[in-house]
């Protein structure tokens, strides 16, 4: 962990703790006010509780040019990203992507190339539908490890996080509370429910909360689509392709549309927002990540629309290449934040229970 980032966040948190005007905005302040002094773990936990809604920045009497120079959303955003990088495993990959949008694009190109190569070299082995381009066994051989290895990596990082923030045994009540907050994204609504300050200075709006919900629920629908297809294939012996009126297709098409629109909306909002109130260094990396995620959704839709045409093998390579890149980069890009945020909300539920 970078001690200068933690120290700056601690300096600011101590000023906040003597003020307390922002107590009603989000989960950060009640957690902050529960302490008199802040360990590195406390600061890391506060950083991961913060959703960067910026309400506290625009309400603050002590922002620059005031000599206290408070910018808590930015200070916590920097600690937050540093915490993901510090906990990530394996370390050589930890700091390659969050602050390097070009590296994410490069990884995407590599992902395309790998899938084109796989289709060319392995081929169909006599399958139908998409399996006419790449055999089912080949897909499993590529994507099972590409899915499971990042999860294992995240697990290692989260264990380190949990240790540092003093997490204890998790009870069902902690989970219900944390998942409830995450499902509604309450911390992006502010205590008064009017939303956050993002795309137009101090104007409260639900814009960011809604596009973020679109991304999250769109992604979860797509994930549910793949999961149901896996169950249908292995449990019910019903291999793809599936008709439109089937669970995988309904979930996937709806999810893909929501995910794509959500990512476009997020990029538009981010372009209007003030980068200095977030982790300015990670702006490019975050944008590239959102674009990648949106592209996963969009290319999936394109593949569905043109799956019967001659463009199918190329589209399949492009879509699966994007998915592969997305999965493999999960522990090392903004995607990690979802897991850490949830961990922080669970830890916070333990504090108040």
């Amino acid at each position: 962990m970078q001690t200068d980032l933690i120290q700056e966040a601690r300096r600011q948190a101590e000023i906040c703790n003597a003020c307390r005007y922002c107590e009603g905005y989000c989960s950060v302040f009640p957690a902050l006010h529960a302490n008199r002094a802040f360990t590195d773990g406390d600061i890391t936990q506060l950083a991961n509780l913060c959703h960067n809604c910026r309400g506290c920045y625009y309400a603050c009497q002590y922002t620059a040019p005031h000599e206290f120079d408070l910018n808590l959303p930015a200070a916590l955003a920097e600690v937050r990203r540093d915490s993901w990088e510090s906990y990530a495993w394996p370390q050589p990959l930890a700091r390659r992507f969050h602050t390097h949008g070009a590296a994410i694009v490069t990884a995407l190109v590599v992902g395309f190339a790998l899938l084109f190569a796989a289709i060319k070299m392995i081929g169909s082995a006599g399958g139908e539908g998409f399996y006419a381009a790449l055999s089912h066994n080949a897909m499993v051989a590529i994507f099972a490890p590409a899915f499971l290895l990042p999860l294992a990596s995240l697990g290692i990082g989260l264990r380190r996080y949990w240790h540092d923030v003093g997490g204890i045994g998790i009870r069902i009540s902690h989970l219900t509370k944390a998942f409830g907050r995450a499902a509604k994204m309450k911390d992006l609504a502010a205590g008064h429910g009017d939303g956050c300050n993002f795309e137009d200075e101090d104007r409260f709006s639900q814009g960011r909360r809604h596009v973020h919900q679109a991304i999250m629920y769109g992604f979860l629908l797509c994930f549910a689509s793949t999961s149901t297809a896996t169950v249908m294939h292995y449990v019910f012996d019903m291999p793809a392709p599936y008709p439109l009126l089937s669970l995988p297709k309904l979930l996937g098409v709806v999810g893909g549309i929501i995910l794509t629109l959500g990512c476009i909306g997020m990029i538009m909002l981010k372009r209007k927002s003030d980068p200095t109130l977030g982790d300015a260094k990670a702006w490019g990396g975050d944008m590239a990540f959102v674009a990648l995620l949106g592209f996963v959704g969009f290319s999936g839709l394109a593949l569905y629309a043109l799956g019967a045409s001659t463009a199918m093998p190329a589209l399949l390579a492009i879509h699966l290449g994007a998915v592969l890149t997305f999965f493999l980069l999960t522990p090392f890009t903004k995607m990690a934040h979802g897991f850490y945020r949830l961990a922080a909300l669970i830890r916070d539920a333990q504090r108040v229970s």
Partner: protein
């Protein structure tokens, strides 16, 4: 150039309430705010709550708070130096203001941690006063109010009991406008150290200003020189004892110290000078500004021991810390032997401390000591010892414009037909001395709305 019906001088709560009210009546309004946008809002940006009468649960407020109880609370702090008619008008009208504030974008939150005693009487703004100011600027903009930042009003030409024109500078140029009506809501003069010094003597050089550096009383002085009726004494102000390391201006809420009741406070000669445990801190913090101002070099030194360090809200700057009283005295730059002697004398006067209770008047008092400490008197014995310096922090001054129940200003020869005042610049019309938490915002909101209503009625 747009012709404005009404010029509002100032950009804080009272000014915004006046501007929005007038704009809703159809008047074309210009706000002349002397601060840059980042510092707009005057002292309102540092406020946190609104004291509000209510006959039943209202917004974030629980139970009831009657007009009479509110007025009695006010009388206690002003020791009777109160204009009853205007005070009661402000109190009575506060109840209808709260929903009006919500309609104009203000959001409230439950009473802050550490302020539970105010949960019935004071409605806290979510995010504090700057968020209120932000919301009001947004609403004013929607209502068509124009705002000029860094627009410093230099003169209001008064003749025949009317304001003839308003001069101001903006972006290095002088401008003159001739609005039909003017609302002055530009605060007190506390940021003008020379003026404070004339009123207080050289001691004022050591005062800290808790709020905006832009309240220099320029418009107030200009109007008083032209014979506008004044009210209040120049040496009366809302002043509290704050952390001596606070910035000269704009330190705001975080510089307050809540440790006095658990301490002894000595002056630079290491002598105690007042009962630190006279009452619970929310009822006493406002007198300590004047107490410290009366000490040599206008400084006080708080001494506590490790028993008490966690009993009060955390301070923005860490306390001085030492293993012995002599070392602590050295950090405070006062006589170590003398401090030790003062502490030992105090400790000897302490009695049974078994009834000590940090949040209630516990009656744990000294005996045979002058001045006595009448509550929370526990010996200071357990190292490490902690210290803070106290200085006088001025919030706002009471010398101001005298107004009537319509917020209208006057001269000896009668009302000025197109001049109204609201907020701290006329708060002296109601408060003669002392202060009640959240009442400044009540005065600003109530009289801001009245001034806006009356100015619009005149201009239309």
């Amino acid at each position: 150039m747009t012709h404005y019906d009404i010029a509002v001088i100032g950009g804080g709560n009272a000014a915004l309430c006046a501007a929005m009210t007038a704009a809703e009546s159809g008047a074309k309004v210009l706000i002349l705010e002397t601060a840059p946008k980042a510092y707009r809002g005057g002292n309102s940006r540092h406020t946190r709550n609104f004291r509000c009468m209510h006959t039943g649960p209202l917004g974030p407020l629980v139970e009831t708070y009657s007009e009479d109880e509110y007025f009695e609370d006010l009388l206690k702090v002003t020791k009777g130096k109160t204009n009853e008619a205007l005070a009661r008008l402000a109190i009575r009208t506060s109840e209808e203001c709260l929903p009006w504030m919500q309609d104009h974008g203000v959001r409230f939150q439950p009473s802050l941690s550490g302020t539970l005693s105010l949960g019935r009487t004071n409605a806290f703004f979510m995010g504090g006063g700057k968020s209120l100011v932000n919301a009001y600027y947004r609403t004013a903009d929607k209502l068509g109010v124009d705002v000029l930042y860094e627009a410093a009003v230099t003169h209001l030409e008064l003749s025949e009991n009317a304001v003839q024109w308003v001069d101001y500078t903006h972006e290095g140029k002088s401008h003159r406008i001739t609005p039909k009506a003017v609302v002055v809501a530009s605060g007190g003069f506390q940021a003008d150290t020379d003026w404070l010094t004339r009123a207080w003597g050289p001691a004022a050089q050591n005062f800290l200003i808790r709020g905006t550096p832009y309240n220099r009383g320029i418009v107030l002085a200009d109007l008083l020189e032209q014979g506008v009726s004044q009210v209040g004494d120049a040496d009366q102000c809302h002043a509290v004892a704050i952390d001596g390391r606070a910035p000269k201006y704009d330190g705001g809420i975080v510089t307050r110290l809540d440790c006095v009741p658990f301490s002894i406070v000595v002056n630079k000669d290491a002598e105690r000078f007042y009962d630190e445990g006279e009452d619970v801190w929310p009822k006493r913090y406002a007198i300590w500004g004047r107490l410290v101002a009366a000490q040599p070099d206008q400084v006080g030194h708080v001494v506590i021991d490790s028993k008490s360090i966690d009993l009060f809200m955390p301070s923005v700057f860490p306390p001085l810390k030492a293993d012995t009283l002599e070392e602590l005295a050295a950090l405070m730059d006062i006589d170590g032997a003398k401090l030790k002697d003062t502490v030992e004398t105090f400790n000897t006067a302490c009695g049974d401390t078994s009834d000590f209770h940090p949040t209630e008047l516990d009656g744990v008092a000294t005996s045979g000591l002058s001045p006595a400490k009448t509550n929370w008197a526990r010996p200071i014995t357990d190292p490490p010892f902690y210290g803070y310096s106290l200085r006088t922090g001025v919030t706002f001054t009471y010398l101001g414009l005298k107004v009537d129940e319509n917020a209208q200003c006057s001269t000896d020869t009668g009302p000025i037909k197109n001049l109204w005042a609201a907020g701290e610049t006329m708060a002296g019309s109601i408060l003669g001395q002392g202060y009640l938490a959240g009442y400044g915002m009540t005065i600003g909101t109530v009289f801001g709305r009245i001034a806006g209503r009356e100015a619009a009625a005149y201009a239309n």
